[in-house]
Symmetry: C2
Subunit: 662 residues, 2 copies
């Protein structure tokens, strides 16, 4: 049976990471969306021009690629470089290259993909098993450490790479390698086989989509089996507890995401795939409730998820420290993968809202402007300026105030690569007689809206720098269809204008239903004036603070923008004065604290602080009434920039949440 024969019901070359067989919305494909210049087109260009080579050269230098050659040549040893999941970085890079190749057709990318595929293929065992860390000479046996070994996790990423290849250039050797690996997994872990699961969910995502792409139900069946086994203590207990890898509670019984954030999000995204393919409404609704509570109580203003360094995990409800926010880049990407699947299944605008927030403030924050250094963790508060990692050095995973070229655990750079290469896939969606614009940038869309009808539009905008979005109809069927525009949740007082008629629209979707003709123009004006944002009082870590947002962008203050001798701890914000836009930066009215260094000997005292260091001496009470009204303190201009640009000018202290004058 060839791929073409099995591809019925799916679009094997649709250039989309997710193609459910049912759902409220249909993702647009490769040839239906093209970006012009703009915020995201720039990042896609840098990704292709710099990040791909950067990742491949690091993996060559560290021997992660040579690991495949050593398996092929039978020279594996105990000195294998890299963690057990290093194979997955190669697969994620290939996946990114495939999506990018589908977009641009750059032959150099195709050559790179074939080159890497050849090295990988030679490492595959006769029975389809493919892994460079287990099962060969001087290595532990296959599947001898399901908790930590990441064997199935690696395979899951291989399958996602194959899906990208299949949908952007058709079946080839990579797809066949993946099929053999997937078959091996089904034979080994099927109903009659090993009743195990992988400590790091991902194989479920890979199997579900690979099955969709090939139209092969066995792979979805295996994904369903893995999901069903999880949550029953199938894995060995570990010091961090089974919640770490979501083996504590079955996904149908859970009420919130918990444990390791990336694990939880990959798992839940795969559960949506299974729920959709099975038309399992109960499971889908359970997952929607888990998403709701997670977003309402365990998510950062940036869209970032994961509050704890100790286990890279979610904290409890309202546990959202700015300074120790882990907010791993990969967790942001995994959150987008989950929200996108939920959007396609339900058509609920809230999922597109979170996707925009997370792309703009987590994914866009990770890479440096040159695409060759990355943030792994994305804290909302950097207390002291970090150190710039040595260009040639591998950084520890997350403890830095500066982007690093590569990490010991380096999941983020290749994840950023595939996330940027697919941004356009999340920009719009279609349904029968309907086109929905979800994200805004300069782009051309020509969408199949069913029954052979096409709706084509050109979107012109400088968003997010500017709030004016112009949508010009290029092609439309004769009969009435619906054009939906997403009005972001923060967009209070957005205005839609067509045929000279203006109306204020609420956040959510604005549906324009009529017969469009080529040349029709609709404008959407989004209010991108900077605004103050306040936290729910139950978020203890940022009580008494305010943040500034502008359009979809979270802003932050950096110490490099302060006058010499003034630190971020010395300033409070006077929120009686509205924030002012100054060429894309935001100016606030700050008030300098009189805080004398070194400040009190004991930081707790009987004087209520008025913006300067209160507190009594540990020795005497003499400086106990140190507080002075800030009204007497000097005013200072506080200039904020977009959070996604922080530390681009070098090490700096940084705050998203700024203390307010009480």
């Amino acid at each position: 049976m060839t791929v073409q024969e099995t591809a019925t019901g799916t679009d094997a070359t649709g250039g989309r990471p997710v193609i459910p067989t049912r759902g409220r919305q249909r993702p647009l494909g490769l040839h239906e969306v093209q970006l012009d210049s703009g915020f995201w087109a720039t990042r896609q260009a840098t990704n292709a021009a710099a990040t791909f080579d950067h990742c491949e050269s690091w993996m060559e230098r560290l021997g992660w690629l040579a690991n495949f050659d050593r398996v092929a040549s039978g020279t594996t040893g105990r000195d294998r470089p890299g963690w057990s999941f290093s194979d997955s970085e190669v697969y994620k890079l290939i996946e990114a290259m495939c999506w990018e190749f589908g977009r641009t057709g750059d032959p150099a990318l195709d050559a790179a993909i074939r080159r890497l595929t050849e090295r990988i293929g030679r490492a595959q065992d006769g029975d389809g098993y493919l892994n460079t860390c287990f099962g060969h000479a001087n290595q532990p046996p296959r599947y001898s450490d399901l908790e930590e070994g990441h064997e199935l996790y690696n395979t899951g990423h291989l399958l996602q790479a194959a899906v990208a290849r299949l949908r952007t250039s058709g079946p080839d050797e990579l797809v066949e390698i993946a099929r053999r690996a997937a078959d091996h997994v089904c034979e080994t872990f099927g109903a009659g086989g090993l009743q195990g699961i992988c400590g790091h969910p991902e194989i479920e995502l890979g199997l579900a989509e690979f099955g969709r792409a090939l139209g092969d139900g066995r792979y979805l069946d295996q994904a369903r089996l893995f999901l069903g086994r999880r949550g029953h203590g199938t894995l060995r207990d570990i010091p961090l507890g089974r919640a770490y890898f979501q083996d504590d509670v079955p996904i149908r019984d859970a009420d919130v995401l918990r444990g390791h954030a990336v694990r939880a999000l990959y798992l839940t995204a795969a559960a949506v795939d299974v729920a959709v393919e099975d038309d399992d409404r109960e499971l889908l609704e359970t997952i929607e409730r888990q998403w709701e509570r997670t977003v309402a109580r365990r998510t950062y203003l940036t869209g970032g998820m994961g509050s704890r360094h100790q286990d890279e995990g979610f904290g409890e409800d309202w546990e959202l420290p700015s300074d120790r926010a882990y907010s791993e880049t990969c967790a942001g990407i995994a959150s987008i993968m989950l929200s996108w699947r939920l959007y396609l299944a339900t058509g609920n605008v809230r999922y597109a809202d979170l996707i925009e927030r997370t792309y703009a403030n987590v994914v866009a924050t990770s890479p440096n402007a040159d695409g060759r250094a990355f943030f792994y963790a994305n804290p909302l508060h950097q207390r002291t300026a970090g150190n710039v990692p040595d260009d040639g050095a591998v950084s520890p995973r997350a403890e830095s105030g500066a982007r690093a070229p590569w990490f010991d655990v380096s999941c983020c750079p290749t994840n950023v690569a595939r996330a940027l290469a697919t941004w356009h896939c999340y920009a719009a969606a279609a349904a029968d007689g309907e086109l929905t614009l979800l994200q805004y940038t300069g782009m051309r869309i020509n969408a199949d809206i069913g029954d052979g009808r096409r709706l084509g539009v050109a979107v012109q905008t400088a968003y997010p720098d500017d709030g004016l979005v112009t949508v010009r109809v290029l092609e439309a069927p004769a009969d009435a269809v619906t054009l939906k525009l997403r009005v972001p949740s923060w967009a209070d007082g957005a205005v839609v204008e067509e045929n000279g008629a203006r109306r204020v629209v609420e956040p959510g979707f604005v549906a324009l239903h009529r017969a469009f003709t080529s040349g029709d123009e609709i404008t959407l004006r989004l209010p991108i004036a900077p605004r103050f944002t306040w936290p729910d009082p139950r978020v203890d870590a940022v009580r008494g603070c305010v943040a500034v947002e502008r359009g979809p962008l979270v802003y932050c203050a950096e110490s490099v923008d302060l006058p010499d001798g003034i630190g971020l701890d010395d300033v409070v914000v006077d929120t009686a004065v509205e924030p002012v836009d100054r060429d894309g930066r935001v100016v606030l009215h700050g008030i300098r604290r009189g805080a004398a260094e070194p400040g009190p000997a004991w930081p707790y005292g009987s004087a209520r602080a008025q913006g300067i260091g209160a507190g009594q001496s540990a020795a005497t009470a003499t400086d106990r009434r140190a507080a002075v009204p800030t009204g007497q303190a000097p005013a200072i201009e506080l200039v904020l920039g977009p959070y996604h640009q922080w530390a681009e000018r070098g090490p700096t202290a940084m705050r998203v949440w700024l203390p307010t004058r009480q």
Copy 2:
């Protein structure tokens, strides 16, 4: 040479953990202080009656004691139970038993000490090496893992146990075992030997005091060598960085305590010992500056130290989260050890202030009332009620809202045992012609104040329940001497009364200099009315919150004291109403938040919260202006209890820092 001969210049039976050869203050000995009933006498009694047996039986059950037998019988194997530092728990228990035996002379304790000593002695190698984890059959070689192996750490605790034995009942087999072990360390790591140090400081403390107790300078020399080697990258680098074990910066060049809290505090305490013995003023002043900044910026209201779970370490300045406070019990005890050495060297009252705070709010908090369960970490905020650990189960080290009988890493119970057994050693100090009362409880003191003069007093008080302290002179020399009373830093408006004369005194020391006669009575009235305490505004984690203290005790709110259906997140404090004492508990005027469950879909919004959930929906802006003035919210009586008693009534949510009505 016998111990007696070498003991010149030290009091070999003084019953004190620390006896410097010089310093501003002299610690009082075994026969100079006796406690009556009271807060600390009760805890010492429970410690002796329950905690010792509890610890020994757990270590027997887990095989930590049998590890010594297996070395003796040559049956060591890879299946050795316990961590590499489990030997030290046995030594800490013996140390506690020795101090307690010195206090009470209970023959059962003496028998237990001899019984344990015998088992330990049989495990000692011919050359003095003593360790159950390294250097024997099926074990890694001696000193093959200085970073993590804890060999010298274990020996340091052996030496401290021997010091306790020597000073409470004289030389015996335990002291000889320790001497052989100490000699082995000096021979192995001396100037011409291995240039290594231990990943966990402690050997330095043990060597310095053992040297003092024996009057043998070689041990102090070795301690000085170890201290000098540290901070130069002597140990292998680790993912957490060399700051974790203070091998990043020489102690003379550091400006604040950092890295693993217990390691940093043990190391610095030993550095004080060396500085004092060497009369090294520069080193002593450096350490005083490090203490100042650590206390001013890296210490919790309870006196607890260590903000991070990830590395059990100090955070950065002002990084003091309540909910994730690690505040390890052992770190509190180590902090007391450091502050006591600094007090003896300088006579500065601030060190006694921190000792009182830490004993009352960290050490007293760890054990359950029955002395058979303990807190390892001491957070200031428990978001959800914890689970009561199974009585027979070993708990993970720190993640619980309930005290556990024992831990996988179980350093805290035995440390609590030795800390409680020595509380009276910190209650007073003497100098030439001077007696200083540092801590208050019912006790009798008869102190040698030099030149054969003695000053004896009886202290009567119900402190900390009550603020009245009566000091009656029992014995005094004919000439004028000084009686100093410590007025705690929080005691605003304390009053001293003698011979009918009353005067208000400032926090610090009140010195009464005159000729006292038997029967003279001095009363000190400390204001123990409950008070609000406010944080320095730079402590981000508790901005907009207030705490309540009463005398030396920190108070907390527990969810078990709230009406059904009301959680700690639903209440804010109206600080316009002063706290009221009600039989040792404190009543506040609380205001209930109108926060509707499940609350907003997105916890950040354009409405400034007034005490209820603000924030806009992730989907729409409809509930964006949800805030209502708290003036309309119902009042609620908020009853607080002492923090050291929290969770004694079972699992509960808890807060020390309470949000205030803005």
